[in-house]
Symmetry: C2
Subunit: 140 residues, 2 copies
């Protein structure tokens, strides 16, 4: 399902028609499939850039918390966030349970990175220069 093909000679090229179904499907059906997939690809690119922006924001929160020695987690905030996302999901006709699972996935990732960053901060004598890796988000 999710194995990367490390043998691809040109890693920069993307083939939107890449499919194990190619040649085995009626061309009209394949055309419809590719049309929908084109929208999915656009949505996925948007999701990636949006997630990058979210992690930039949580990283700011992380530095703020580290600078003022505030606890990384905020249960009161997380409870409110989850309840809100579930309501938004219902409005969007998205499974609220999935929305909650999604937020927990993000928060889990954030917390996983947090420990390492907190250690970096302490190792630097408790000062933050705000230049940590952009791939190291913190809980918000």
């Amino acid at each position: 399902m999710t194995e990367l093909n490390h043998d691809l000679p040109d890693t920069d090229s993307y083939n939107p028609a890449a499919s194990s179904l190619a040649g085995h499907v009626d061309p009209a059906v394949m055309a419809e499939l590719l049309s929908i997939r084109s929208s999915i690809d656009n949505i996925d690119a948007t999701l990636v850039y949006l997630l990058a922006e979210r992690f930039k924001a949580t990283q700011k929160v992380g530095f703020l918390k580290a600078a003022h020695r505030l606890p990384a987690g905020d249960p009161g905030r997380e409870t409110a966030q989850i309840a809100r996302l579930r309501r938004l999901a219902e409005d969007a006709q998205l499974d609220p349970a999935f929305a909650e699972k999604f937020l927990n996935f993000i928060i889990g990732e954030v917390i996983r990175h947090h420990e390492a960053i907190a250690e970096d901060h302490n190792a630097a004598g408790g000062t933050s220069n705000g230049t940590a890796s952009p791939t190291a988000p913190l809980t918000a």
Copy 2:
């Protein structure tokens, strides 16, 4: 920044200032924290609506595949998707490993729902009326 209304009694209200830190933090620091969180909340709402749209698209793919008895998974497609998202993540300064993990999370969710829908389709004699639950996405 963010309007607060602690007096709203109904459970639909969202308090953007909900925090276990309330009252324990310097007001200026709290104000900065809430300002960043306000952006995170906007991003999260966008993510929810975007994910809802993505699942609408994968559901279309699911019905198309069911109608033409095509396999649910498409390893060739998934390999290309992951490689592309990793490149986009690098461009967005998001951890590529996280982007891959994120796509796997989404695909995993999609596949989890797929089995149930395929069963529904078969139980209906192989016909699809396109009215399945919006909360039941399929792999794309």
